[in-house]
Point group: C2
Amino acid sequence: MTGTKAEGARQRVRAELTREILDTAIGHVKRDGAAGLSLRAVARDVGMVSSAIYRYFPSRDDLLTALIVSAYASLADHVENAESSARRSDLLGRWMATCSAIRGWAVAHPHEYGLIFGTPVPGYAAPSDTIEQATRVPTVLIGILRDAAAANRLLPDLPGSPKVTARELAPLSKQFPDVPVELLARGLLSWASVFGLVSFELFGHFHNVISEGAPFFEHEAERIAGTVLGLTKRPIER
Amino acid sequence: MTGTKAEGARQRVRAELTREILDTAIGHVKRDGAAGLSLRAVARDVGMVSSAIYRYFPSRDDLLTALIVSAYASLADHVENAESSARRSDLLGRWMATCSAIRGWAVAHPHEYGLIFGTPVPGYAAPSDTIEQATRVPTVLIGILRDAAAANRLLPDLPGSPKVTARELAPLSKQFPDVPVELLARGLLSWASVFGLVSFELFGHFHNVISEGAPFFEHEAERIAGTVLGLTKRPIER
DNA sequence: TGTACATCAGTGAACGCGCGTTCACTGATGTAC
DNA sequence: TGTACATCAGTGAACGCGCGTTCACTGATGTAC
């Protein structure tokens, strides 16, 4: 039935046009941001009449969803690719590659970054289709953390550190039952810190604060690895 | 001339109406977010014809600017108030009060938070009027850091920590010449971390990750104090 | 204190625009016998 | 291989809406003499 080849020309053309509409829409987001995205403008650029778009996307919100999913996927591709080219045992290298890839992608795709990490589009609720792609970057992060723990490269918490409870992190903990809650908490904070830095830079809050974004970010990413993650240069002796 | 009292009834009425327009607009942002803010809708609610707004604000963008300034001011009021009611010598208490106030305000005013810390409104460039208000919260933070340094309560950097250069932070350093660059960098990262946490929570990225935002945030704020800021419980002996 | 004039707030109509979505339709492409 | 029918993509007109901004205007409020 749904053979890979004999799909019929109609289906192939349909897939191509869907792709073209999506790409055109991405182009609009790249130029003008997501807020003003217009079905009609996209249709014009594709060379269709506006109502024809409805053969491909049932509504503007569905097109938006597709754009969000595609942005998450694009970021995740970039990050996974960077992280996987570091030597597995070079944990700091993997962390730095991940962070740099996040910032690099964000700087190269500011509007797409804004689409997924900025103010949610009003009246729009992200459907669950997005979570598969949205989960990929955090998963890379947790992978690093897990390997660091296995290699005995994580400092213990400072005495008197706050203890995050399992309850607070219950939903995440259920997805990664083999990772201690304490580690998940570190991962979450480092994740939020990295994106906090990137968001501040992209959204203009580092204006008149920082002169060179890239080296500052590298330094801070390294600092996060050392302090928040507690990643050590060599295995800890017991 | 411009006496405080005999301003004339006209001027007073004008000020009151300006306030009313602003408050109505804030109400709209609270309900629907900033993206769809409409002059006409505001005018309707105030009970004016749409063109009358132009006697008070020269354009939609100016109204938006006023809203942004007002949001920054509201946040800063809230934060300064909370921070200043902690005992001066209780540095961790001051930090925690600051952080909780930030999150508290954000949760209570999500759309206003989105207006100032989310995706910048497309085609809109924040004028310098905003910086006075925008600077107040970071200033509170630096105050804590400065006092902590004076009280000898900051851990030295871990050996092998990345050294942020003065060049990278030149603009900020010029505003706070008495604070060492290294401290400014810590402050920046902690600032970004706190807002990263809050943004993730407000913008939905902690969905299915965290079950209870408030206690988790408190724990993480404390962790930031200990690891990023390097704030110790007692003065360091030399 | 009273009058003549200037300032200003608010009106209402209009301009020109773009938007998302629906609907009946025309032709072309595929499918079943 | 050929015909009859069903499926589908794309059209073009229309609906109903709301927007920011301009402009000539009316009256009321203030100011100067």
